[in-house]
């Protein structure tokens, strides 16, 4: 794994850890009016709060690392933006679903899974759209900069 990927993995792990625990706690607060770091069903499954927090932290870190490292697909030159975005989406959706089942963030309920799928798809479409607009704007800026450079050169040649 090169330095850049390692850096992404570390940042992803930290972000994943913080968000995984914070979002779970916040979701529990909304659901039950009490801030709980882990889902009660998961705590019961692993027989204790401390093991539950440890496992949730590790899996959240892993999920975060996967999210960040898998952005490497956008660097594959032969792939279109749509290919890269859909691959990234698939990796994240599958990882989230597996880890979500383990940690009891989600239940094996068809409706719930479809809702999450649609939510992810909308988010990814927006990401694709934003990136497309950014790259298109980059192209306009580069064209303008190249024109300015050539005008500057013409002035210099005439001096």
């Amino acid at each position: 794994m090169n330095k850049r990927m390692l850096k992404k993995a570390i940042i992803g792990a930290i972000v994943g850890t913080v968000l995984g625990n914070a979002v779970t706690g916040f979701a529990m607060y909304l659901k039950a009016g009490v801030f709980k770091l882990c889902m009660p069903e998961f705590v019961e499954m692993v027989d204790g709060f401390i093991p539950a927090v440890i496992i949730q932290t590790i899996l959240s870190a892993l999920f975060g690392a996967i999210c960040f490292v898998s952005t490497a697909v956008y660097d594959i030159e032969d792939w279109s933006l749509a290919q890269a975005a859909s691959t990234h989406f698939s990796i994240i959706f599958v990882s989230y679903t597996v880890i979500g089942f383990i940690l009891k963030w989600i239940t094996p309920n068809f409706k719930e899974i479809i809702t999450i799928f649609i939510f992810f798809a909308i988010v990814y479409f927006l990401i694709w759209l934003i990136m497309f607009l950014i790259y298109r704007n980059d192209a306009k800026e580069l064209t303008k900069a190249a024109k300015e450079y050539n005008e500057h050169k013409k002035k210099g040649d005439n001096e």
């Binding site: 660097d75 790259y135 306009k140 580069l142 303008k144 900069a145 050539n150 001096e159």
Partner: protein
């Protein structure tokens, strides 16, 4: 030209004349001085149908990898350059040339426009109906190059 260069002469035990130009960065003004002193090689050795020829750098629209060869494309022909792309990049002092991907170096003077068509690369329409492709990874480097070479400018 907006700079007052300091000229220092030193005797040295060398054959011929050696001229060293020092500046913070290679701006168009510095490039003008270099070209006026006539230091930079204005030509590059290339091969056409096996025969060695010298082609003017100004005539080169782009350098690109074509299989195992590196080629220089002008408006008239495509020539083989017997050097790797990284060596060409190091040899060319002029800011007219910028690396746009792992396999292409282009001459900015021949750029018509950039366009993003949704793929993994950015399309560069050059003069003489030539198309080059910039990697998304090189976009920021190209921006930086154009910014530095123009002395600030739009970027």
């Amino acid at each position: 030209m907006g700079l007052e260069p300091k000229i220092i002469f030193e005797t040295a035990d060398i054959d011929g004349i050696e001229i060293i130009i020092r500046a913070k960065e290679l701006t168009p003004d510095v490039e003008t001085i270099i070209s006026k002193v006539g230091i930079e090689k204005a030509t590059m050795q290339a091969y056409y149908n096996g025969a060695a020829v010298n082609i003017r750098l100004d005539d080169i629209i782009r350098f690109y990898r074509d299989g195992r060869d590196v080629r220089a494309q002008t408006s008239k022909n495509s020539f083989v350059i017997k050097k790797p792309l990284y060596a060409i990049e190091e040899e060319i002092v002029s800011p007219d040339f910028v690396r746009v991907s792992g396999s292409e170096i282009i001459n900015i003077r021949y750029i018509e426009r950039f366009s993003f068509v949704g793929g993994g690369m950015m399309r560069i329409e050059m003069k003489e109906s030539i198309v080059a492709w910039a990697s998304r990874r090189y976009v920021n480097l190209i921006k930086e190059h154009l910014k530095n070479a123009s002395g600030g400018g739009v970027l």
